[in-house]
């Protein structure tokens, strides 16, 4: 799988085929078409508001939060790993900020710093356990998810006597993490753009990107080729812990409160976004652009439903069907792209 991904750009350069042909052969083509199909569907059946700024804000706000988590999850999945612990890191980080800066009244920077360090630590432990025990990361991170969940509940009740805490953030922190630009676009959208640039650099420009693909392709060969696989694994888990904590912090700033529960929806939603974006569940294949398109598709489907006149009770059916169609479209086009290029080779 790795060799296919790496040979694609060369093929593209060499061949003098049409622009459409080049576009179709990009691994993201399927995700792009899936997204367009969903957009066209809702433009047709939903009310006008869907295509106005208010409608865009609606799914962009949702996409930004999931997107920040989906990016590192995508990298992990390309590297052949999974991280479910994000589901409990998000509420834990929210609560850390709310307890430190709200309940105890310390400066926001202390609470935010502690929350982000916590996220990094969870990632560090995840990566360390995966390296040392050889237990699949799915299991390690499920264990970690429950451990963090229990710690959050236990410590919250112990420290504050309650399972929730509130915080009234300083105007500065509210404006950089929790404001709505123009009254509707969450500032998180701009943070998401920042995360996209950083992750795209890591995966597609820096040499680490190729290491990640190699890790997902074949871990042992990657190590034999001199790639620091253990450090890389730990680094990737720390990235996902950090990103989850970041989302938790911004949620605390937006809703000015934090609860022990919540965040579980992010686990499946982020994996869903990554898969819609064309990343293979088996690892070794995927791109940042694909993940971003997948996130947008997922959010559009979720939010679009509210702008239609469909029976809301059947909302989940339509979400399920549209997502399946998006993934199928993706797979079809990827197959098309791969067979097309291999035909040219022979």
């Amino acid at each position: 799988m790795t060799s296919v991904t790496q040979s694609l750009p060369d093929e593209t350069k060499k061949s003098a085929s049409s622009a459409i042909g080049r576009l179709i052969r990009r691994p993201e083509a399927g995700s792009l078409l899936g997204m367009l199909a969903v957009f066209v569907f809702f433009s047709a059946v939903a009310s006008n508001i869907f295509v106005q700024p208010a409608g865009f804000a609606s799914w962009l706000n949702v996409a930004a939060e999931i997107g920040i988590v989906a990016l590192p999850i995508g990298l992990l999945m390309i590297a052949g790993e999974l991280d479910l612990s994000i589901g409990s890191v998000i509420p834990a980080a929210s609560l850390i900020v709310a307890v430190i800066s709200g309940y105890h009244g310390l400066p926001e920077i202390v609470g935010i710093g502690a929350a982000l360090v916590f996220g990094l630590t969870v990632g560090l432990v995840n990566g360390f356990l995966v390296n040392r025990t050889g237990v699949p990361s799915l299991i390690v991170s499920i264990g970690m998810m429950f451990a963090v969940m229990g710690l959050t509940l236990g410590l919250s009740v112990l420290l504050t006597g309650s399972t929730s805490a509130n915080i009234v953030p300083d105007a500065f922190y509210k404006s950089i993490l929790g404001q709505f630009v123009g009254g509707m676009f969450a500032v998180t959208i701009f943070w998401w753009l920042g995360f996209i640039v950083v992750v795209a650099y890591i995966l597609h420009v820096s040499p680490i990107g190729n290491w990640i693909y190699a890790l997902g392709g074949d871990r042992i060969s990657a190590r034999n080729a001199g790639i620091p696989t253990e450090k890389l694994t730990i680094g990737l888990f720390m990235m996902s812990g950090f990103s989850a904590a970041f989302v938790g912090v911004s949620q605390a700033m937006v809703y000015q409160s934090a609860q022990v529960a919540g965040g579980q929806a992010f686990i499946f939603n982020s994996i869903m976004c990554v898969v819609i974006g064309g990343v293979l569940l088996t690892g070794g294949f995927g791109s940042v652009l694909g993940i971003v398109l997948g996130t947008i598709t997922f959010s559009m489907v979720n939010q679009g439903i509210y702008f239609t006149s469909f029976d809301a009770n059947l909302g989940s059916v339509i979400i399920g069907a549209l997502l399946l169609i998006a993934v199928l479209m993706n797979d079809t086009f990827r197959q098309l792209a791969l067979s097309y290029s291999s035909k040219k080779k022979s």
Binding site: S47, V62, S162, N166, V168, Y255, I305, Y306, N313, I319
Partner: protein, 324 residues
Amino acid sequence: MKNVSRFAAFTSTAIVAAFTATAVMAADIFVIGGKPDDPFWSIVKRGAEDAGMVAEAQGGSVTWLGPQNYDNLGVDAAELIRQAIDQGADGIVGPNWVPEAMDPAFEAVTAAGIPLVIYNAGGLEAADRLGAMNYVGANEFGSGESAGAYMTKNGKSNGVCINTIPGAANVENFCAGFVQGMTDGGGEGGVLPLPATSFGSATAVAQAVRAHLLQNPQIDAVFTVGNVDSNSAISGVQQSGKSGQVLVCGMNFDETILAQIKDGNMACAIDQQGYHMGYLAVSILNANANFGLTVPTREILTGPGVIDSSNVDATIAGVKAGTR
């Protein structure tokens, strides 16, 4: 003052009586409830545990059984009920969240001759059907109804109930009650059920509310079924640019909700007084198992109580004193 000393005298007598009675009976009471990390259920749990102190002083115990998550609520809760029977419960307290899934398990409780109290969800009707001693809880339909009545009294005519757990009987009743309350006040009401992908995500709920308000500009009242959802709904209303035009009212409250009411971002909160649900249900069973006592008043209502700007300060004082 007189009442306090009378209460103290009663309590000390009760404690003395408790110690003398220890040898006779010991009631092991099992309470089935929500996740212990759920903000609402942690209060119910504390009520149950406080009542459990008396049970423990009399040689018994109180055990809390809650599901890991709400993904398969009815089935999981039915499993917990059967677990309580297997562990030799002398009394069981449980909510009738999903009657279809849970009724057979409750019937097994009464078939085994174990005293049963239904609380939080189901109402007296469920208690009668299942042969339970009593129902302790807020009248769900009435809770929603009081919110609808509050909205119409404050000049609102078109309300929507945000149902974040479609299928749960108590939440369906909150929403049905709200619609009834709006209709009785001369307005109209509807329900917006959210898909499973938005569970536990404040942003998903906020954006759903925002989108629904934009799509349906005639709506001027929003009712939520829990305190976490209320915060999300307020954010959704603000993002739709309709603060002040659309009133938000919600079930349950916490410090943040009280601050929102005080700041005028939220119109009202409906209180079920969860502490009393846990406390009274356990007390009834404990007294019954130990002394054969019964409470002839059936359907013990712990709510609804409406908290709005007029009594929010008193409620905040109550929270600080640890009584709410």
